[in-house]
Each structure stands twice: as C-alpha cells, then as structure tokens.
Symmetry: D2
C-alpha cells in the first residue's frame, strides 16, 4: 500500500464487465500524458462487474482534477450498457484531506488510536467533530483540538417515550454530522444502532467496528459469547453500516489468539488491540478510495 | 510444547477447585522421588473446577505407571467432594503409541498430512485403519502400509431406505473402529454426520476438522457461505464430535487471509492448508493428553 | 493472560533445578492458607535452572506481603545450593502501581499508545515522567498530565566535545529517571544509545523497542535494510537494554506482512502498528512480573 | 490468487518504466479480442522498472500462444529503450503442466507435502524426478510413481578428494535434472550447497527453502541459533538460489510463534509446518509466473 508522496488524483470506476475496458481507460489517460503511479483491477466474473482504481500523478495533468473528470466521464459514458447497471466513477484530488466525524460512547481506545495517527501525520484526514452519547471522552477530543459534542441517549427501552427520545437524539447527531458533509462517519465503538433512515443517508460512508469476527457473535457482548463457546481466536470486523445490523459489507477483519485462561474481561482488554488496528486499516482503505461495494461485498484494493 | 525425549508418565487430573490441590499432588510426587518435567495448571474460577497435567520422567519412578496410578488415585480420592462432581484422573505411559483410526471421504489433504507426519516420525501414533466411504483414498493408506476399509454410504436422502442404509453403514464403521479401541477416531474430512449413538460412544475421542472458523458458517459448504458474505479471513476448527452438529468443544482453530479476488474454489484450495495444520495440531494435543473438557469448553495445555 | 481483578501478591522465584521445588513452595503456601490464582513453572533442563511465578489472592493472606515475604524467603533459603548460583525471589503487592519513566525522541506512536492505555485503564502503571531529547512530544505528555523534560543531545559525532555533551545529557536523563526509582525505563523509540554505565545501572529495567525482527537488521534504518533485502515480513522486537547494542534478552516480537509495492516509507508507517503493540505487550509482561532472565534469554509466562 | 479454471495464456513482461505502457499492451490485446482474466502491474519508481502479468482466456485467442507471442513480441520491441536494460517477456500456455525436479536429502516433510498436493490436484506440476543424496526418501517418490535417483555425496570436508567427489556428484545431479529442462528445480531441504556453475545455469529456476526467517540465522542449524538467541518467532524463507548462499531473491516467508519452553528439537518439529507451507506457496507463485526478479528483489503478484 503506497502512500502518495505528492499530490495525486485518484480515479475509481466500476461498470459492467466486457473486453477492452482497461485499454479504453489507459488509452485515454496516456493520450493526455497522465502518469499512473498505482493501478488495480478486479473483475467479478459471476456478477459480470468490473472495478478499477487508478492513481495519477497530479503534476502530469496540468488541468488538474477537472480535466481528469472530463476524460474519465467521457470513458464512463462509453462504458454504459443500455438497461444495465449504471457506471459509477469518481475522481478525488488528494490535495484536500477528507473530512471525518467520529461517533463514540465510553470506550476510549479507538478514538485515542485514530487521533494519535492524525497527530503523527500517518493518517490523512480532517476530523471535524467527535460526537459522544456520554461526556467521558471529551478530554481526548479536547487534547487534539477537535470539537466534542455530547448528545445524551435515553437508556435502551422499548416504550414510546424512549423511542421518541432516541429519535430526537439521532436527529441532533445527524445535524452535527451533516454540516460537515464528511467522507466518513466513523462509529468508533458507538454502541447505538443507527436508524434505518441514517443508514440510508450515510450509505457507503458510515463505518463501524464490531468487536467480533463476523458473522460469529453478532449482537451484544460478543466477547462473552466467544468465551461461552470456547473459541481459540477472537477478532474484530470493520464494515459499512446498513439497516441489517452487523450484516453490512465487510472492509477488514483480523483475529488474535486466546486460550482457556482468558476470562471475558481478558478478551475485552486484548480484543481492543485488534479492534483499533482493524478500524484504522479499514478507515484508511476507505479514505484512500480503495474500497468499492457491489452486491453486498467489497473489493478492497491493497 | 515439549516433545518428551524419553519415556514419560503423563498425569491428568481435574477436580472441584479448592486451596492446596497443587501442594497435595506435588507433595505426594516429591515423596516418591518423581521428577516432573512439565506441569500445567488451570482453575476455572466461575465453574469452581481445577485442571492439571503433569509429566513425570519414567526413570524416576522405578515401579512405573502402576505405582504412579496408585499414588495419583490416592490423591484423587482425597480430593473428592461429597455430592460434588467426581474427580477425573488418568495416567498414561508414553512407551505405547496411542492407537488411532481415521475416517475419510474423497478429500486427500488431511490424510496425506497425518500419514506423512507419522512417516517422518514427528507424530507419535499407531494408525490402525483408515475407513472411507469412497474408494479413492485407498492408495494413500496402502502406500503407508495402513489397512483401508471401504464402507459405502447411501446418497443423502430423507426416506426410510436411505436411513436404514446409513445406519447399516455406520454399524460397519463402528465395528471397524471399535476393534482397535482407539484413543482417537479422526474424522479427516469424513463428510458424514455421526449418529447420536456413535457420538455418545466415542465422546471425547471422536475429533473432527470443520472447514470454517466456527461458529461462523456451520453446516454445508462453508467456503461458499464465506464467499457470499465477503469475509476477509477463512479458517478451520478442530473439535470433539457431539450430537449437536458443529457445536462440540473446540480444540484448535486458525485462519488465513483471503481477499475479493478469491473465488470459492480458491478458498477451498487455500483453506486446505489451514485445515490440515489445525487438525494436526488439535490431534497432537489430544494424543499428548493436553486437552481436558469441562462444561462444553476445552482446556488445552501448551 | 489474566488481569488480577482484585489485590494480588505476585511471587517470582528462580533457583537451581531439583526435584521437589514445587512441592516445597506450594506446601508452604497451602500451610498459611494462601489461595493461588495463577501458577506457572519452567525448568531449563540444559541450564539446570528452575523458574516460577505464583499469584496469591491478597485476601487469603491476612498479614499481606510482609508475611508472604517471610514465607517465601524461608523457602528460598532452603533452596540455596552451596557454591551454586544464588536463588532469586521477589514478592510484589499489586495495590501499588509500578512507577515508569518513558524516554522519547520525535516519533509519537508508542508514547500515544502507552499513555492511551493508561487513560483507558487497561495498563496499570504510574508514568512519573517523559524525557525527550526533542521538544516535539511535550504536548502529548501534557495532555495526559505527565511531566515532560526536554534534555537536548548533541548531534551524533565522534569528537570529544560531542562525547562530553552526550555524557552530560545522559547524566541529566539519569537524574530525572532515578529520582522515581522506576520499575521500568521505557525507550519508546528514544534513538539514543545508552551508555554502558546506564545499561548496567538499569539492567533488567530498561526496555527498548527495536523496529526490526532481531537479529535481522540490527543498527540504523532497519526498514530501509529490509526493503533493500526484499523481505516479505517486517517486525519489531521488545528487549532489555544491554551494553551490547540490539543483543539484549528478547521479551516479545511480532511481524507484519509486506510486499514489493511497499516503499521504505510505507514500511515505516505500517511498522509503527507492530512496534506499538509489541512494546505494549512486552512492557505489560515486565510490569506484571511475567519475565525472568537467565543466561541471556527470557522466560515469559503467559 | 485465482486458479485458472480453464486454459489460459499467461503473459509476463518487464521493461524500463515510462508513461503509456499499460495502454500499449492492453490496447493491442483488445485489438485482437483477447479477454483478460487477471492483470497486475508494478512500477519500481526508484529503479525505473515496470513489471506486469496478464492472464488471457485461451478461448478468446483462436490462434493460441503463437499468435499472442507475435503480438506481445511486437509491443516489447516498441518498449525497448536504446542503451537501456532489455525488455523481458514470456507467454506460457497453461495447457502444459510445468516440469519440475525435486532435490532432497533425509527430511521428508517437504517432499510429502509437495507430492501430496500434486496427488490431490491442487498444484499443477509434472514432477519428473526426485534426486536424493540419501536413499531414505525413495519410498515416498515410489508411492507417487515418480522416479527416484540416488546420488551419494561425500561427507563435508575441505580436502581435494572430497571436493572432487562433490563435483562429480553434482555433475550427475545436473545431468539428471537437465534432461527434463524443468521450469523449477526445487531444493526441498537438500542440504548441499550448489556449485556456482549450477547456480548460474539454473538462475531463476532453482528454488530453495531455508529453515529460518532470512536474513536471520543464515548458515547451518538455524533453529539452534534461534534457540540460543531466545527469539519469540521462527520462520522459513523460500528463495531463488544464487552463488551467494542464503542471499538469493526472496519469494515467500512466514513465521510461527515459539516460547521459552520450546527446545531446539521442538523448534525443528514445529518449524517443519512453516517450511512446507512457505515452500509450497513460493513454488506455486513461481510456476504460475507470478514472480519476477529485478535488482536482486522479487515482485510477487498475488
């Protein structure tokens, strides 16, 4: 995974598969003298769907992103299949850091990790706000100079009053998020289930870290479930949020080894290390336009 | 994990937990001059259950296993709790290789791997027979000088005739297995579901390799399930067989990384490597008396 | 690895190996009613050296650490072998958090990670000071309420003046460290080579993180060495500092996979994740008295 | 890593890097209607060197490999840079299994593993012969119907007689190998150092498995070196053989975790698992034309 050392233009494009797509794209890029520094392709043969990501050295395209958008747009138009799924494409200029909002609850490790990476200059993102349903993580955001907003949520209950309170809280969260039009809304152990409406509005941008190796141990207290089952590995899953809880497209996963001597509390503590790594890797891939979703599954270019 | 370089006596003991158990055992062993070469302990605080494995240098106990059995039996009697779960203990002499029967179907990789380990002298077991519901793996057994028995099974069907045929086939398998009174019955990708009666009879001795990271993807075609879900790791699970399919106590698990470019067929191929390793590691632990089961979960001493 | 959920007394003892040591220790502990919650043993057969760690529930020893010290001291005296290597033992009360001083340079990731773990309550240590040879990490320490001391070091040079400046700087560092009599002095990417005198004074307490899988790529710029050699994995090593640079006893190591597409800069960035994990795991093991050194190698009890 | 499910034509090409190479290649392929099923690119910016691998569905090129060779050869000619390093390219038809000769000594695990993979149909190669400097592995080759040739080597000594005997033995090995013109000569724990002349003759085809994570522990008895150093991981390295021993371009590496309880003999046993996996993965990559070497380092396309 190469870190762009200079300014780059990142092209993503996906379309119905057929012969000659790469030639069409690269031919057009060569024609304008664009210098490609990274290129990745994937064709899902079963789905008949083609996906690519190309990184162009900005210096080789004097007109910049707009010129490139015109070129790629033209190719995309030619790749449309009448009656087929529409071509999707995007060109991003790395000169601007992607905007991010982070949602948290009481667990600090993922927030510490993400903000530490920004501080150290190893993760290029502009964290505009942290929104917490508890006050406890405010000092962390403050130490990094990021605005923190506390939006209290009612205790989980099934009555109408609780539901109303929850909807109101989510409305407040949504307003705090949407004013930044972020490239990613990160649920860094947020512990609240997004409403279907928000899942929809933030589709492909809301990223969750679940503290199990999905689809094992969906739902609450996965480490306790893992302990009860006696598994020998526990893991974490970074995925896009969808209305179907814990079933969104998976971006990244990893596991660590445990054994019989580990209590559920040990697993919770040790699992934090894999949670924060998996979230950081998944988020980086998303922000660098390495992830594309088709038919509920992700292509994640290295 | 230490390989006994000479003859050893292996003690396993589990009992209700209380203060002074280790002192009681090691005091008695010290009294007869037994030289302990490996020792491991575990107390499951929630379950109030204590587990230990001790390895004694055979040369330090002139009377051998019988003398040690008398000593350990006496300690065990003292550790009994009236009305409590009975103490379990065992003493094994490593002079005799444990007997093993392997059940197979059409997939060759686990059988090749296990017999190759025996050939190379790295896994101490006496494979008495291979039983297959297809003929195809007979040459592998033959090349290693192990008797191969073909027991055809009817195609999976729900009617009475199929069920009767299946029961008859299992009766034949059981007879071929039981004549060896094996320490382990290994389902090396056997693909047939043991009858509840056999699960019961072979409890704690029948060991299966499931080609997924359980409890993910129970049941049939786990790699295809994994592909459909878009997971980023696939794994394998070695577990004791119980009547509740794919829910037996887990001995060992591991995973490998896959990505979007892997088809289900790629996963099948790549998964074989983790299947054979996980089975070999789980079986070795079992044969070396490193595994003890309590309340549906295993303690696996390194 | 079990986190003590209540107050504990941690016993470590190592001595020349012989029959009956465990019985002697556990017999004495049982006699005073001490309840053992964790126990680990290792005998290095070649070296004839025995090592143990026992964790006792503080509530089961009314007299506390002093009573336990008297008991263990008596056993230790009996285990002495005339003319042999002296018995080493220690009893620590977990009621008091171990004191730690962290030495840093310009790289922030390890410091962020360690202080984040303290903030989140997952690593029990009392960080008394951070000492940096650059100012740049002061804000991180400040955000965590930890005193930061800047001790400038002269640029690396071989002349007498530079050597004198370096010695003076180290004297200042030593004073800042020693006033806290810390259980660990952590070189969190400190980048300065300790003087032999300090290596000696802090033997068994100074812990370094080296950014390679030692003994590969000793010395400077290991990621660049790794890139030049074309290895497929890079790693990190947490070790005790000795006068023989990069050759101290290894506490913990791990690796991550890289490939041909990774530039040295990519490796530096990706390597940080394994550096911070390996340092945190190694330091935790040290602070929990899980590490004992004999003949230049460590025993690290899980 | 996708297994070609049908007949494929595999193109590899490397050349001095410049803008438009991909367009040139894919444009020409599109022009003849070639359907690309896999494509990978890498540009080594520092070295100014471009590498690609393209897999074409054979059915889409009616003229077959010869037609494709004409097309690729023409592109290659256009990519030549006067005075620069020559373009290298190759087109292989997967209809023919690559020929392989395996050199062995006394250790059986790698040979068992490789032949087991061929038996199970998971590794597409035609093993023409096994050559051993001991007789002991003959039965394994025989069981798989592969000719085994015993070529005794003199004991390692420095006198002229030993050297002459060794040269004669190698001449015999070379003759047995070269008659098959193999795509790979696999040193499966062969334990004899190839002569410089053979290293040269088999450059890019002779593949060794070294039982350490190179460059750690070069030379003899790496597990004993690893034990003495007290490392926490041991590994294996699959590399091309060059005259500079253990310094050839690395194809694949992996490690496993060990601890203080592992004796050198334990490491030898446990290391076998990683040796055989690493060799199998490295060899597969080589046989599928995924590996290209430039400036002493490999590009290994997934």
């Amino acid at each position: 995974m190469s870190v762009p050392s200079g300014r780059r233009l990142v092209i993503t494009l996906s379309c119905p598969d057929r012969t000659g797509i790469v030639a069409a794209i690269t031919g057009r890029l060569a024609a304008i003298g664009a210098s490609i520094t990274e290129a990745a392709y994937h064709a899902d043969v079963d789905a008949g769907w083609f996906v690519t990501r190309q990184v162009v050295d900005s210096a080789s395209v004097p007109g910049g992103a707009d010129v490139l958008r015109a070129v790629v747009g033209q190719v995309a138009a030619e790749l449309e299949v009448p009656g087929g799924e529409p071509v999707r494409w995007h060109v991003r200029d790395t000169a601007e850091s992607p905007r991010v909002v982070i949602l948290v609850s009481r667990e600090s490790h993922c927030l510490h990790d993400l903000l530490g990476r920004v501080w150290g200059g190893e993760l290029d993102m502009d964290v505009r706000a942290v929104v917490g349903n508890h006050e406890v993580l405010r000092p962390i955001a403050a130490a990094h100079g990021v605005p923190f907003h506390h939006v209290p949520f009612p205790a989980r209950a099934q009555d109408d009053e609780a539901r109303t309170g929850r909807d109101a809280a989510f409305a407040q969260v949504a307003a705090l998020v949407d004013e930044h039009d972020p490239a990613a809304i990160v649920l860094a152990r947020f512990m609240q289930v997004l409403t279907p409406a928000l899942c929809d509005r933030w589709a492909g941008r809301a990223i969750n870290i679940h503290h199990s190796f999905l689809p094992s141990f969906m739902g609450a207290r996965p480490y306790h479930q893992a302990h009860a089952r006696g598994v020998k590995l526990v893991g974490a899953t970074c995925h896009y949020v969808t209305a179907d809880l814990d079933a969104g497209p998976i971006i990244e996963q990893d596991v660590i080894r445990i054994d019989h001597a580990d209590t559920p509390e040990d697993m919770v503590r040790r699992g934090r290390d894999v949670e924060k790594l998996v979230l950081a890797r998944g988020l980086r891939a998303h922000l660098e336009d390495r992830v594309q979703v088709h038919a509920g599954r992700t292509v994640v270019f290295r």
